[in-house]
C-alpha cells in the first residue's frame, strides 16, 4: 500500500502549490488488516463444515451449499435447479410455507434459497442468540421438503410472471441473450431462472428427483460466519446435519462430466429491437475462465483496470469523459468451467453504437499497450479495498469462503490474496488481455429505430431480431 501513497501524492505535489492547506495532508502509517483463519472439518457423513468467527455486532450468517446448480438443468427444463431450491422453503413434512416464513421472521431472521451456476443454497441471516433455533428451519427445509403440487404450480406462475417483466427490461434481457450468444446450446447458455416455455415443463416430480439426486451431505458445504465460536458452530452443524443421509449412490457431477460450455465459431453482433425501450443496454461479452484457472488473479487485476470501480477505463471514457451513461463496467463470472466475461453500459438509444465502439476500443487498448504502474497500483488497491470490505460483514465472509470451498481451492488463499494481487505485473496483464479480450460478441437491446445510420456503418453485419421474434430457448435466438 505504500506505493499507492507515494504515487498519488507525488502526482499531486507536482501540480499543487506548496502551503499548509493547499495539498492534502499525508496519510499516517497504515494498520494491517486481520485475515481470519477459518475452522474446517468434514463430518462422518461427508458434509464439510467451515466456521469463520468474527467479533462485532451479534449477527451470524450461514449458508448450506449444494455443489450442483443450474448447469445440471435438463435442456428442456431450464430453471429446474432454481425452482427446486426456491421450493425448499415452501413446505416440509412438518411445516407449511406460511409456518416457515412466520417462524423464521419472528426470530428477526431472513431465509433465502435459490440456485446459481454450480451450486444451490439455503442462506440464513440470524441474530447470534437465536441462531440455533433459526438453524432448525434451515435443516428442515434442506432435508424434508415436500414439493407439494400447489406450491410448484404457484411458484411456476409467479416465476413466469416475473420473467415477463424481466423480458421487458433492456438490461435483464441483454443478459439472457448474452448467455445464449456465448454458450449457444451448452448448459451455461440458458437462463438460470428458465424461460416461460421451460418452466411449463417442470413438474413436482422433477423438483423432487433433483433434490433426491443432488441434495446429500457428501455434495454439500456448510459455511458459518459471525459472533460464534468454532465449537458452538460445529455443534449446531452436527445437530442440524449429523444424521443426514443421501438417497442411493452419489452420481457423477453434471458439470464435471463436461458440456457446460460450447465452443463458439465466430463472434456475433446481436440486436434485440425493443420498441419504446427507455435506454439501450449494451453488453460486450465472451467466454472467460474457470475459477480454478491459474490466470484468476491476473484476470482480476486486468478487469480492475478495465471495468471495476468508478475510475476504471470504461467508466472514465463512457461516463466521466463523455457523459454517455450513468455507469459502465465489466466483470468476469467465475464458474467450474469457463464462465462469461461481460462489459456493460446503459445509454440513450441514440448512442448505443458509440458506446459499443468505445468498449471495443478499450478492450483492444488493453491488448496492445502495457498498463502504466501509476494506473496499475491504484487499480490493485480497488481489489484490495473490495476484499477488505467483504471481510467486514459476516455475509461477505461467507460468500468469499464459500466460493473457495465450492471449487476445492485452499481456504488459505484468503491469507495471500493481498500479496497475490500485488505481485501481478503489467506484462502479465497485457498477456492476459491478449488471450482473453479479442473476439468479443456484442449484444444490444434497445429501440433500434433511434440507433441511427452511424450504428449501421459500425456494425454492418448485426443480426437484428425483433423482440416478438426472440426465442431464448434456441441458440439461434429466433423463433422457427
Amino acid at each position: 500500500m505504500k506505493n499507492v501513497v507515494t504515487i498519488v501524492f507525488a502526482l499531486l505535489l507536482a501540480v499543487a502549490a506548496i502551503g499548509e492547506q493547499t495539498t492534502p495532508p499525508l496519510p499516517g502509517p497504515p494498520r494491517p488488516l486481520n485475515i481470519p483463519t477459518p475452522a474446517d472439518k468434514t463430518l462422518p457423513n461427508g458434509l464439510r463444515v467451515i466456521v469463520i468467527p468474527k467479533s462485532g455486532v451479534p449477527l451470524i450468517a450461514a449458508r448450506l451449499m449444494i455443489k450442483t446448480g443450474g448447469e445440471a438443468d435438463p435442456a428442456d427444463k431450464a430453471g429446474l435447479a432454481d425452482m427446486t431450491a426456491s421450493l425448499l422453503t415452501k413446505g416440509t413434512t412438518t411445516k407449511s410455507a406460511e409456518e416457515i416464513a412466520r417462524g423464521v421472521e419472528a426470530l428477526g431472521s431472513a431465509i433465502e434459497s435459490g440456485a446459481g451456476w454450480d451450486y444451490s443454497y439455503v442462506a440464513i441471516s440470524s441474530l447470534a442468540n437465536n441462531f440455533g433455533t433459526a438453524m432448525t428451519y434451515v435443516a428442515d427445509v434442506v432435508r424434508n421438503p415436500t414439493f407439494k403440487t400447489d406450491e410448484v404450480d404457484r411458484l411456476r406462475e409467479q416465476n413466469i410472471d416475473a420473467l415477463s417483466v424481466n423480458l421487458k427490461d433492456p438490461a435483464q434481457l441483454a443478459r439472457f441473450v448474452a448467455s445464449r450468444v456465448v454458450y449457444g446450446g451448452g448448459a451455461y447458455g440458458h437462463n438460470l431462472g428458465g424461460t416461460p416455455k421451460s418452466l411449463e415443463n417442470i413438474k413436482r416430480e422433477d423438483a423432487a428427483a433433483f433434490h433426491a439426486k443432488w441434495y446429500r451431505p457428501e455434495n454439500a458445504i456448510f459455511v458459518v460466519a459471525g459472533t460464534i465460536t468454532p465449537d458452538d458452530a460445529m455443534a449446531i452443524a452436527e445437530k442440524s446435519f449429523g444424521d443426514w443421509k443421501g438417497v442411493g449412490e452419489m452420481p457423477a457431477n453434471a458439470a464435471e462430466a463436461g458440456g457446460a460450455t460450447q465452443n463458439q465459431e465466430k463472434p456475433r453482433v446481436v440486436v434485440i429491437d425493443m420498441p419504446d425501450a427507455g435506454q439501450a443496454a449494451v453488453i460486450v461479452t465472451r467466454r472467460g475462465l474457470a475459477r480454478t484457472d491459474p490466470a484468476y488473479i491476473a484476470s482480476q487485476v486486468a478487469n480492475a483496470v478495465l471495468g471495476a470501480g468508478y475510475s476504471s477505463r470504461l467508466n472514465e471514457e463512457i461516463r466521466i469523459k463523455r457523459g454517455l451513461s450513468y455507469g459502465a463496467g465489466s466483470s468476469f463470472e467465475f464458474r467450474r468451467e469457463a464462465g462469461p466475461f461481460f462489459a456493460t453500459a446503459q445509454t440513450k438509444n441514440e448512442s448505443a453504437g458509440e458506446v459499443a465502439g468505445i468498449i471495443n476500443e478499450q478492450l483492444s487498448g488493453m491488448t496492445s499497450t502495457s498498463v502504466p504502474e501509476s494506473e496499475l497500483t491504484p487499480r490493485k488497491a480497488v481489489l484490495l479495498g473490495n476484499f477488505g470490505r467483504a471481510l467486514e460483514t459476516e455475509a461477505g465472509l461467507v460468500s468469499r469462503v464459500a466460493a473457495l470451498a465450492l471449487y476445492g481451492l485452499p481456504l488459505g488463499d484468503l491469507s495471500h490474496y493481498i500479496s497475490d494481487v500485488q505481485g501481478v505485473t503489467a506484462e502479465q496483464v497485457k498477456g492476459f488481455a491478449g488471450t482473453h479480450f479479442p473476439d468479443e460478441n456484442v449484444v444490444i437491446v434497445g429501440d433500434m429505430k433511434k440507433f441511427g445510420d452511424e450504428f449501421k456503418k459500425r456494425f454492418p453485419n448485426a443480426e437484428i431480431i425483433p423482440l416478438a421474434q426472440l426465442d431464448l430457448d434456441s441458440p439461434t435466438l429466433r423463433k422457427p
Partner: protein, 451 residues
Amino acid sequence: MRQRLTYLLAFALTIPLAIPLYGASQLDVPSVAYRHRTLPNGMEVYSVRDTSIPRVAIQVWYRVGSKNDPPHRSGFAHLFEHIMFKSTKHMPSEFFDRLTEDVGGENNATTRDDSTNYYEVIPSNYLETLLWAEGERLASLTVNEANFKSERDVVKEEYRFRILAPPYGRLYYSLDKDSWQVHPYKRPGIGSIEDLDASTLSDVKKFHSTYYRPDNAVIVVAGDFDDAQLDGWVDKYLGTIPRPKTAIPRVTVKEPPHKELKRFTEYGPNVPLPAAAMTWIIPDARSADSAPLTVAAAVLGLGESSRAYQSLVYREKIANEVEIDADEREDAGLFIAFAIMSSNHKVSEGHKALRKEIDALAQKPVSEAELTKAKNQIIANILRERETNNGTAFEIGQSVVVEHDAAAVNKDIRKLQAVTPGDVKRVVETYLVKGKPTLIDYESQPGGGAK
C-alpha cells in the same frame, strides 16, 4: 443484550387448523454510544469509535434535499450532488476518487427529499486527508462549464436508467408527483430532462453559497480513530470555514389534510403486468405516531409472513409482488402500498385487496405474537444496518437531519418496542382508514405517456 419475554400466543389467521404456537422473545440491540461537539461556526460533529478494523467511515450531511430544488429546476439538488465531486480550489475533478478508491476506499453520495449525504469509507490512516478534502469542497467548490455539462448528461442518463428503462420506473416516479398536492415533495427528486437542461453554472454557484455552509452541515465519523486527533483535524479543516451571515432558506409549506380521494392513471410502454398503488399522507418522522405506523407497515408488508403477502400473493394469487412502506420524512410522510398484479388480474382487484387488509388491521387489534414478530423484523434490520461503520454513521446522520435529534438513533428502538396493538389499530384507523388516499393505476401503453 437485554431481553424481554412476551406472550406466546397462538396466531389467529384465516386458516382455522391447528397451527403450532409460535413465539419469539422481543429483540433488543445495544445502544450506539456517540460523542457530540458543535463547532463555533455551527457545524455539528458526531463520532463513534470502534477500532476493531483499521478503517473509518466519514459521512457529511447537508440539510438540503430535493424539496429545496429551485423553481423550474426539479432535480437540481441531485445534479448538484454530482457536481460536488468536481474540482475545488486545490483539487482537480474526481480527486475524491484518488483519495478513496485508489487507496482501497470508496465514496458516494445520496440526495433525498430532505437531505444530501456524502460518505467515504477509507483505511483509517487516511482520516486526516479526507477531512481536509471535505473541508475543501464545502469551502471552495469550483466547476467549469465543460464539467458541468458532461455531468448533467450523466444525470440525464441516470434519469433514463431509473425511470425510463425499467418497466416500473415511471410508477415510482409518479408516487410523489401524484400524492402531494402542495408540498415540494411533489417534485420528483430525479427531475425532468427539461428542467435539467434549463439549469446553468450560475445555479450551481448560487446553490452552493445558499446551502453548503458549516451551520447547515453535520459530520459523522465512525470507526478507527483517536478522539484527540479527530477533534484537532476537524477544528483545523472544518472549524475554520466561516459561517455566512445570511439566513438559510427553509421550506415552510405544509401539506394540508387531503379532503378527498384522488385517482390517477399512469402509463409505461413496456409494462407486462399492471400495478395498483395507494398512498396516504402521514405525520413527520418526529411524530409519536411514527413508530406505530412503521410497525403497521411491517405487519402488512414486511417479509413473506406479512398479511398482504400472505393474502394477495400467496392465497389469492392476484399479485406477484406487494410492497408496503411508511416513508417518514422531515415535514410529513407518505404511507405507500402497492401491488404488481399477476397476469390476468386487474388493478381494481389490487386496490380492493390492499384496502381490505388495511381495514382488517383497524377493526381487530393485532395479536401480541404477530406484533412481536413485526418488531423483531424491524429491529433485526436496524442491527444489520449497524454492522458496518458506515451504516452506523448513516443512522446518526439521518436521526440528526430528519428527526432533529441524534439521540433518536437509540430512542426510536425504545419507541418501537413500546408500540401496543392499540397503537397500531389507532394509527391505521386515523391515517389510512379515515385519511383520503391517492390511487394510482399503472398500465401499459405504447409510447408510455412520458418522454
